[in-house]
């Protein structure tokens, strides 16, 4: 199979992606929903290549709320991979399903549009990601160094399952981009 252009040419960190993926596996995640995003290319490939994980490629990120909710009620751990605009596109599902029915979600979000963002089109969403998370009372933490990734993901999942609510881990440029 042809390697996608993004994987060949873009300096997305393979080692950080592996640390994140290993942390999700260590948390017992068996279903991962995803919508492709530049920073997520390696994570999505790792899920696809893993026979013990079901990758669900979405048409729109809000579907992932439904899939994770179904998986949770069925007793299976899941995670969602998305860009922050995917999080913004998921809000109705988060409020009208995850919050309404007290369902944990482990959301791994590419935090585009923060300091260092060169793409003008990412800056608007980047600027409002944290206020929207706060308005929804979704606990969040940034992942910016490989050393604390595993612990923060594990603790996020623990809180999500104890509080029965969504949590967000924000992947930063410092962690994901090697330039």
């Amino acid at each position: 199979m042809t390697v996608p252009r993004a994987e060949q040419q873009l300096p997305v960190s393979v080692s950080s992606s592996q640390v994140i993926y290993d942390a999700l596996k260590a948390c017992g995640v068996e279903i991962i929903s995803a919508l492709p995003e530049t920073w997520l290319v390696h994570l999505i490939r790792m899920a696809e290549d893993d026979p013990d994980v079901q990758l669900v490629r979405l048409a729109k990120e809000e579907e992932g709320v439904g899939i994770s909710a179904g998986a949770h009620l069925a007793g299976v751990k899941s995670a969602m991979l998305m860009q922050n605009h995917g999080f913004l596109a998921s809000i109705n599902g988060i409020v009208g399903l995850a919050h309404l029915y007290k369902i944990p979600l482990l959301m791994i979000i590419s935090y585009r549009g923060e300091f260092g963002e060169p793409d003008p089109w990412q800056t608007q969403g980047g600027g409002i990601t944290l206020p929207v998370l706060d308005a929804l009372q979704i606990p969040w933490v940034v992942l910016d160094e490989p050393e604390h990734v595993a612990q923060r993901i594990a603790k996020a999942q623990t809180l999500a399952n104890a509080a029965l609510k969504p949590v967000a881990l924000l992947l930063t440029r410092d962690l994901m981009w090697e330039d």
């Binding site: 809000e62 709320v65 899939i67 994770s68 069925a74 409020v95």
Partner: protein
């Protein structure tokens, strides 16, 4: 065909412990509860469009169970992309039933695009759902429903129904009670097996 009569006609099939039912909000939820709530029924009272995505999540998580989603035209139209995701993973244990009354009945009966010719079976088929059908009468519905359960293939079944709805939509089953009863039921099934 009335949706209530259609639900009643297949209700006894839903009493099987290995069948898991996810419904949308509004009339479907109220009518199924009126016929009789069971612990294997989950009613998604908001988040329109996501009942089929929840069904996909359950079907992938628990391949030993048969999942039935009772969807509606308004909800499917809010998540047409979800049909492509269903088709992509095509879980054989998922029967996706769409009650199409060509309207958003619970908010006053506003006509949906199926009233002006949009064909949800056609959309599902071209999205790649392997088995699709549209039925209009009770007998045809019961037959097609049984075939969907018996088939080892993802099915989207569009059932054309009239716009009649229940007098009210709020029942005495709290949303949270339904949620925990349902997840407990699925947990018990796994522990018994």
């Amino acid at each position: 065909m009335q949706r209530y009569a259609a639900l009643k006609a297949i209700y006894e099939r839903l009493e099987d412990d290995n069948i898991v039912v996810v419904t949308i909000m509004g009339a479907v939820s109220a009518e199924l509860q009126d016929i009789g709530h069971r612990p294997n029924f989950f009613y998604l009272q908001h988040a329109m469009g996501l009942a089929s995505s929840m069904g996909l999540g359950i079907a992938l998580a628990r391949p030993e169970l048969q999942v039935v989603v009772f969807d509606g035209d308004g909800s499917v139209l809010m998540n047409l992309g979800g049909l492509t995701t269903l088709a992509r993973y095509r879980p054989p244990n998922l029967a996706h039933i769409v009650f199409d009354n060509e309207s958003l009945v619970s908010v006053g009966g506003f006509p949906t695009a199926t009233s002006t010719g949009s064909d949800l079976e056609g959309i599902a088929r071209e999205a790649g759902v392997p088995r699709t059908a549209t039925v209009e009468g009770i007998d045809a519905f019961v037959t097609a429903f049984d075939e969907a359960l018996a088939a080892d293939e993802l099915t989207t079944l569009v059932a054309k129904v009239t716009t009649e709805g229940p007098a009210g939509y709020v029942t005495d089953l709290a949303l949270i009670e339904n949620r925990f009863q349902f997840s407990r039921h699925l947990k018990n099934l796994r522990e018994q097996s």
